[in-house]
């Protein structure tokens, strides 16, 4: 289906999320929409999919006919379906119920017929989804697959995907891209919203770049990365050289530690981490890296082995002991575990920095907040609540909250969902900490990030841990194979 957007405006209060956007997408195109966080990509797509309405004056034209879309139901009626960034499905319900929910029909849905349609569609795209399993037992990638076939079943001719590659595994990404290519070949219009250059370049047949609510340019292959980046940010941004801080004294030493929880067992891992060193943990989600990093922070007690921090034995000690010894942990769920929604930036700095006395020195707190906001380049005021900040700014706030001095920083997906400029900024700040003598362990599912910023890499595969790998001499392909379980020695366990 041919899509034409004419003069789309949308404002929230005084700020414009979309300013006069014109875009034409012919049928069979995979259209990339590129832009940094807050560039207005999601707003534009929510307008097209009926989740929100544009300001008056604009037009949406499908196959030459102007349409009015007042709700998502209208949108799917004219053939527009959208996959939202956080899957909009019902986790405690079964896959089949999720699939049929929203399709109109008689009072009692014919489950046998629905199940037949479901398996036909799933087979067509080679998705292995069990219709009787519960959605909360599915991975994000599988939930996407479910949503894709659901929208196709409802008759979507235009498929919008908002940041679909965040949080899915490499093999799921390959499958997703293959599916989208097949759909485009069949005349479907695919709109792929992302801030990841690599994905867009790999997949799209044309790209539109948004910046601060405006369409700043369009491009067709072959893409020039430099140009795309320039259009995204209005200036050239480079990843920069691999930075390696000078390696100092031993910070953390793990001696044959074993961990276990309900699902996984990790056995006999040994590791020596030195000041200034960065270790990346790679692996599919849930391969044990989360448990490992929590063990390094004192949140998980090892069932065997010893943990030493700067020569002191901290085996089995509490999170607070670790924290007092200079270990800080930033978990992946920023708003659930890292920050307190509802509290302002000032409140956060006060909580982190003024542990003594009952009464709060508000003036000093605000001053502190102002300083940190400036030095960490956070877009917000001392009184902004943390949930009102964008993802990148929340992450900066978390970094600003880290204690000084620190001996070890543990990070889980430190740059997930952030645009490249924020990523570079955050790593620059982290590397600064390394220079001051801190060691870093981080988890990331972005292999390039792992190789770019770590000195050594540990690969996790269903509870097995690789020996430390030198990041500078490893390629993304090699790392990808290890993560997928190829090229492992026969015997598990590892020593460094």
């Amino acid at each position: 289906m041919n899509v034409e957007l004419k003069n789309i405006h949308k404002h929230f209060g005084k700020t414009y999320a979309n300013k006069g956007i014109n875009l034409a997408i012919p049928a069979g195109t995979i259209q990339g929409i590129l832009g940094e966080n807050g560039a207005g990509k999601s707003t534009l797509m929510k307008i097209l999919s009926g989740f929100i309405q544009a300001d008056s004056g604009g037009q949406i034209i499908l196959d030459g006919k102007p349409v009015t879309i007042h709700s998502p139901a209208d949108a799917i009626h004219v053939g527009v379906g959208m996959l939202h960034q956080d899957p909009l499905d019902f986790p405690p319900m079964r896959v089949l119920d999720n699939f049929l929910l929203g399709r109109s029909g008689g009072l009692f849905p014919n489950r046998t017929a629905v199940a037949r349609d479901f398996s036909l569609l799933a087979e067509k795209f080679d998705f292995s989804l069990d219709p009787d399993s519960y959605v909360d037992s599915l991975t994000v990638g599988e939930r996407q697959q479910l949503e894709i076939i659901r929208l196709l079943w409802l008759g979507a001719r235009i498929l919008i995907l908002d940041e679909p590659t965040t949080g899915i595994s490499a093999s799921q990404k390959t499958k997703l891209f293959a599916t989208l290519k097949i759909l485009a070949e069949q005349g479907m219009t695919v709109i792929f919203v992302s801030h990841k250059l690599e994905d867009v370049e790999h997949l799209c047949s044309q790209v539109a770049i948004l910046r601060a609510g405006e369409l700043v340019g369009e491009m067709k292959p072959p893409f020039s990365t430099t140009k795309l980046v320039e259009m995204m940010f209005g200036k050239a941004v480079t990843l920069g050289e691999r930075l390696t801080a000078e390696v100092g004294d031993a910070i953390l030493s793990l001696n044959n530690i074993s961990l276990e929880d309900v699902r996984l067992k990790i056995k006999d891992v040994s590791l020596d981490l030195r000041a200034g060193e960065v270790i990346g943990l790679a692996g599919l989600e849930g391969s044990g890296q989360g448990m490992f990093i929590r063990a390094c922070s004192g949140l998980v007690r090892p069932v065997g082995g010893r943990v030493q921090l700067k020569g002191h034995d901290l085996t089995g000690k509490s999170y607070h002991t670790f924290k007092n010894a200079g270990v800080n942990f930033l978990p992946a769920a920023r708003l659930e575990e890292g920050l307190v929604p509802g509290l302002s930036l000032t409140d956060h700095f006060v909580l982190a920095e003024q542990p003594k006395g009952i009464f709060i020195d508000r003036a000093a707190g605000e001053k502190l907040a102002e300083d940190r906001i400036k030095s960490f380049n956070i877009r917000g005021t001392p009184l902004s609540t943390v949930e009102s900040l964008s993802g990148g700014n929340q992450q900066r706030a978390e970094l600003a909250l880290l204690q000084t001095p620190l001996s070890m920083i543990l990070l889980e997906h430190p740059t997930r969902g952030l645009d490249i400029e924020s990523v570079i900024y955050i790593w620059a700040k982290l590397k600064e900490r390394c220079k001051q003598g801190a060691a870093i362990i981080f988890i990331s599912s972005d292999l390039e990030e792992v190789l770019q910023y770590s000195d050594r890499v540990l690969v996790f595969f269903s509870g097995k841990v690789s020996p430390p790998i030198d990041a500078a001499t490893t390629s993304v392909e090699q790392l990808g194979q290890l993560i997928g379980g190829k090229g492992w020695p026969e015997k598990g366990g590892s020593h460094a």
């Binding site: 989740f51 019902f90 049929l100």
Partner: protein, 332 residues
């Protein structure tokens, strides 16, 4: 105790549970849509009084039941308006309504205190009531008890088997996802809160026109039923059949308390009167055991086949509240 007495007793348990069933089903619908109707305790009292008053004045028992439902729906409308349209705290509004309605029922009910009014007669169903055991147990009840049996089945079928019921689950779970699937979330919340309110309102006359006919003000013994129904809704995992099980269990334990009083005369009667409450909690905790972490651990240690069977059984028993319970919905 001979068999006949036992059957009469158990039939009485089924009848005594009827009002609780209505209240629990009503609350289940409301909460499934995402609205906590905390006014339940007051609503039951007010509709009991109102239903009795209407039936007394019109000498029409059907009008009495309808009046109770109307009162329940109107109180629910206040809850819905405050929480959906005004986006106020459902807990605060519901709690104040619970107290207000209770006191209102005592105040307005004064003229009807102790009056003899109409009462629902039992309605044996021909042929079926002659069956051994099942007959006296199920088919010699009054009309409203039959309605309670049917209501459980209808509510279960509606929520789990029909298209709109599936959407109801979705609205309480993730309204945004229901919205993109075409649901008018806030309208549906109004509708289900009021339907739920009407069901809760049916509980009142089910007492005052049937099981405990008449209006006795503060000594009606109805104060507190609403809170119990609320906890049964929660322990029942927002599932009509499990909630009904909870209601029957409660009525059974109360009856058992009465019976045992005759047997264990040396035990203070208060102990047996109160016993149903902790027993209730214990039983319902057992039903929800699949949520506990140590159970997961035990499961993990089991051999693969056994683990799968147990995990499936526990998953089916497990209940979590509708994720959007008490959260207003906005499309922005």
């Amino acid at each position: 105790m001979n068999q006949e007495n036992l059957l009469v007793g158990l039939a009485g348990v089924l009848a005594a549970a009827a009002p609780i069933i209505f209240a629990v089903l009503g609350e289940t619908f409301s909460e499934r849509a995402g609205v906590i109707n905390l006014s339940m305790n007051g609503t039951i009292l007010l509709s009991a009084m109102g239903g009795f008053a209407v039936a007394y004045n019109t000498d029409n028992i059907v009008l009495g039941f309808l009046a109770g439902m109307l009162i329940g729906a109107l109180v629910a409308l206040v809850v819905a308006f405050a929480s959906i349209t005004l986006k106020q705290s459902q807990v605060a509004v519901g709690f104040v309504l619970a107290l207000t309605c209770r006191d209102l029922s005592y105040f307005l009910g004064n003229p009807y205190m102790g009056q003899a009014g109409p009462r629902l007669q039992s309605l044996p169903i021909p042929f079926l009531s002659d069956l051994p055991i099942v007959g006296p147990l199920l088919f010699k009840q009054d009309f409203i008890t039959y309605v309670s049996f049917i209501a459980i089945i209808l509510a279960w079928v509606w929520i789990y088997r029909t298209r709109p019921g599936l959407m109801l689950q979705g609205i309480g779970e993730k309204p945004a996802a229901a919205f993109i699937r075409g649901a008018n979330v806030n309208l549906m919340r109004y509708v289900y809160t009021m339907i739920g309110g009407a069901l809760i309102g049916l509980a009142g006359p089910a007492y005052s026109l049937a099981i405990r006919a008449g209006w006795m003000g503060t000594i009606s013994g109805l104060d507190g039923i609403g809170w119990i129904a609320l906890s049964i809704t929660i322990f029942g995992g927002w599932n009509p059949s499990r909630a009904a099980f909870g209601a029957y269990l409660f009525a059974f334990l109360q009856w058992l308390g009465l019976v045992l009083q005759g047997v264990f005369t040396q035990v203070p009667s208060q102990v047996l009167q109160v016993a149903p409450f902790p027993l209730m909690i214990l039983t319902l905790l057992l039903v929800n055991i699949g949520n506990a972490e140590w159970v997961e651990r035990t499961l993990a240690a089991m051999p693969e086949n056994a683990r799968k069977i147990f995990a499936k059984a526990l998953r089916a028993m497990r209940a979590s509240p509708p994720a959007a319970l008490g959260v207003p919905f906005d499309t922005d």
